[in-house]
Subunit: 333 residues, 4 copies
């Protein structure tokens, strides 16, 4: 098979840099360009390229584009990609929600390209078949990826107690907040600190989380989502608390996870009794999950990823591999 | 009033060091000795004393002893203190549980001094009257202090939904694990990591937490307690998730907290909309609490302390102040 | 004696915040205002004040002003203070160099208020007499303070080998870079890193360092100054390497330090064999120094401060105490 | 060529773990065993092996052994390897010094296997020819590797001023102190700290450093070596200060470095004006060097490595590649 020519929009942010690093080492990819308006002219790490302004690239040179752009900016480039007949892997939030109305609810702005919706949701372990057929894929964010993988077997088995809240206490490294300097990401503000923010139901990812949980089991209750800024550079932990219904005891939950994820190369389920720590996932392309039975019908799940890898860049590459019909984990293990 | 002569057992651990620092600056205290078997002969920071072996001190020289000792070791010294007629502020776990049977359940060993039980539980904001009358007080641990203060107003108003689990997702700085070197506290193991441990109902503090929640409201459900080791030196955050019953909406919760804690000098309730971060409490003697209404009957509470201060040393001094009838916050604000 | 009314310009930067905290607890000070254009209206921590825009304050309300402002902005406010007859403690770089020409060499801009030069250099352990007489004092920066105190006894005894370079390998916590967000201070850029910058003779503080070393011993050689950004929030270490001349052996150096600093409350000289670590100084108002004889005529000195305290805010208060004839260490120990 | 069968002694320390990871991914290596007495029975990360006690392995199964053992223990295993006819790559200090007397001076104990001395010093960029011929190689420590590579071009050109001290102010991540728990490596002691230790000429590596500098230029002066414990897990920076003689100006130094290291795959010399930071080297197998001219005859060099990679494990593999006549960088780039 011939090699795939790829371009990256937004290559100098943290997710973009990891994406470029993975693509540069991918045996089937020729990385043709990486755009960055702020770093135009500077070398692209791990490659012989230099960053170019997004104005200066031609979609005729590539087979696929990756969009590591801010929301609102991304959809327009996705549309150009579609029109030019190249495949599009979007890492922004623009294509994750299924309807313009849902987008406007979460992002308080009209959707820039409503015709693109709905786009297949790029979480391969849950949505592989649709991704394989797609020309455009919306790669989920780090919080939804980590939380949804941590919940998926229970949703799949319809084992979650109807209407009970699903608690997701999440902790993310600072790269999750992006590379743009702000007081929030100033070293001296974060160091030695732990900072909850937009807790409850006010974070933008709640809409995305509930859209996907309801696709899998429409009777599950609301997601209560409390993210925290953790004083580390990378890594994301979702600590999940769930009531089970009568169909499953907490002692049976671990078997459900090993059954569902047993053949997944990029999801590790730890043996009962072991706890998933941040370091299990940092600088890997995997999601690592541990399950703790708590009460007969109550289970605690810890799900960890590297927010820039399985939570962003490596999942985007996994999606691309599927879209081009090549080995799903090529360049990732 | 005459000055109080105090001695500290176990002065070279992290809680002991903070205790010595607070006592050395306390206007009514003469610090007579600080014991340490490992550091005997070395200077006691912030004082002119040197650490002495516990064998070498005389209880006749003091009015009060503080026990910053490991559990099992502490109860015997407490007993000696009682027999010698000095007041005892225990910081270990030995006197926190009300019965020898409960102690044995949590600590898998018979209680060394069952006659000392029950001892008044030294959480002044909840149990002030009993502490004022006591000669021996059991200062609670950092996790129970932080979680119980975070729950107290809801327990006080009997506002927690009957039988619903109370979720406490907790994160503690490494000093909480003690000063004894181990792989668990090795810098390279903790750095860049976040480590859940003894999650669910297996941590020893669950018994202490439920003993106290049930004293306040015997109908509340089980505590689900998931502690994490956080890559910082100090500070403890308890992230609490609670279902309310029909007596209170989540929008009314904040008023309950300001009413209950309004006159407390060492508990700060933040305005609605602000989140308590670790830095609100680190190196202070306070507990800082924020409340977020999530659903009509669901509330998220963040409670933070410095694990070595309000979670240990400063709370011990607060107890002592009460036991001697002096200003409760002397030396603490 | 009547109380001193003080105002702080630039109270919301890191040095300004420490300054406000120290002044708020100072027994002879009434803090009248703290300005901040960015945080106007927000509460001033540890006080009942709110930050006000600098336009809104009146110098008639105060006896002394502290200027924690950027260079170039500070000199003009200093001039207004002088004209209004209030004492001025400047923490910026504007008044540290003795001549407009020297200022222009280091800062590439004409001096905004050349008439104010020379201003007494506010390093009390070296320059106490002049500070006591002064109405305006230039508080030195964190690097020069730490390096000069580390060198002072050798300069005082004229013990440094003529013309030999004086090496200062310095490491500073991130608050030293200020509170304004930038990629340089982004958590993810600093975390796990150590970053040398402006090494050799290109840092602006070289001029200030050499001005002061030459005042004390005009025959000493050039200062080679290599600062590094350290992944901690506070603390500054100057590692100093010096050749001695025939007047002193390295074994005699320690005695020189204890003689010179023996009666200084805010400089600690450690016993021979102990090394000064960052934690010796962090959150204290002291400079802590250790001396290691290396070769017969070569000595290694480690000098540490908290860059925001003895390297900025607490030294400013020390200067003010001297300028008003009150106890030099009031509010500082 | 047939594959190389390798065994690792001491595979569960930090250097051992990196070594196992590199060997497991090396295309010409079959990793046969990794010993660990403390972790016997546990899985060896990145492999299908389990750690075995050193008693249980047979040298008949391997072609080469790597010794990531403590000094004094290592030499005896090296001797067994030599006797068994397998190649030996020692990572300990036992074989680095050329004579038993030098060893005893630095390590205060008689050499366990004096017949093995002298062993070729395994710094390939300096000593490649001898390593290619050797059956036993002594891989240098992280400090000497980083400092010697930083000095090598100047030594090679005999450009260092005769008798002038060579200053090496070094900073190492905590993994450099080993995995054995101690108060020195306790998270709470290191966090927020910077700790100089064994400064001047008292560290054991001074002997090794001077042995090698004098082989290259016997007229250079003493090495003054001041290591510091840095609050990060990995990475080592040597900040070097050197006086040049009349044969070279500081402006010419950069050319010397690019000439000497221009064809080295594992040493990067940064362009003039850029500074080598810790992150340039962390998690890479390279040494990265920057040069700053300071005075006409004075130069500042920053040399960085990952202490567990080019400072230990990857350099050991580089040596092995040379000893077996395969591509020097196989498995390393």
């Amino acid at each position: 098979m011939s090699r795939i020519r790829a371009g990256v929009f937004g290559g100098s942010g943290y997710a973009g840099l990891d994406l470029v690093e993975i693509l540069a080492a991918h045996s089937q990819i020729d990385l043709v360009f990486a755009t960055s308006n702020s770093y135009a002219g500077e070398p692209v790490p791990e490659t012989n390229l230099r960053f170019v302004p997004s104005m200066d690239v031609s979609l005729a040179d590539v087979d696929v584009i990756f969009l590591a752009l801010p929301h609102k900016a991304s959809a327009d480039v996705a549309k150009m990609g579609v029109d030019a007949g190249v495949k599009v892997v979007d890492l922004s939030a623009d294509l994750r929600l299924d309807s313009p109305a849902a987008y406007e609810r979460s992002y308080q702005t009209p959707h820039p390209q409503p015709d693109l919706l709905p786009t297949p949701y790029g979480l391969p372990e849950i949505n592989r078949a649709k991704i394989c057929q797609a020309d455009v894929v919306a790669t989920p964010g780090c919080y939804p990826t980590t939380a949804l993988l941590g919940l998926y077997p229970l949703l799949q088995f319809a084992a979650i107690e109807r209407d009970a809240p699903i608690i997701v206490d999440a902790k993310s490294g600072v790269t999750g907040a992006g590379r743009k300097p702000s007081l929030t990401t100033h070293f001296a503000e974060v160091y030695g600190n732990l900072i909850p923010y937009k807790t409850g139901r006010s974070h933008r990812h709640v809409g995305e989380l509930e859209q996907e949980t309801h696709k899998l089991d429409e009777e599950v209750g609301p997601v209560i989502f409390c993210p925290h800024l953790l004083p580390v550079d990378r890594g994301l932990m979702a600590s999940i608390y769930v009531s089970l219904n009568n169909s499953m005891t907490s002692d049976q939950a671990h078997d459900a996870y090993t059954e569902v994820f047993g053949s997944e190369a990029l999801v590790d389920v730890l043996p009962l009794g072991e706890q998933a720590t941040l370091k299990h996932a940092v600088k890997t392309n995997k999601c690592v999950i541990s399950i703790t039975p708590v009460l007969e019908r109550y289970v605690h799940i810890t799900s960890v990823t590297d927010n820039l890898r399985k939570g962003a860049a490596s999942q985007a590459v996994q999606n691309m591999n599927l879209m081009f019909g090549i080995e799903e984990t090529l360049g990732l293990i």
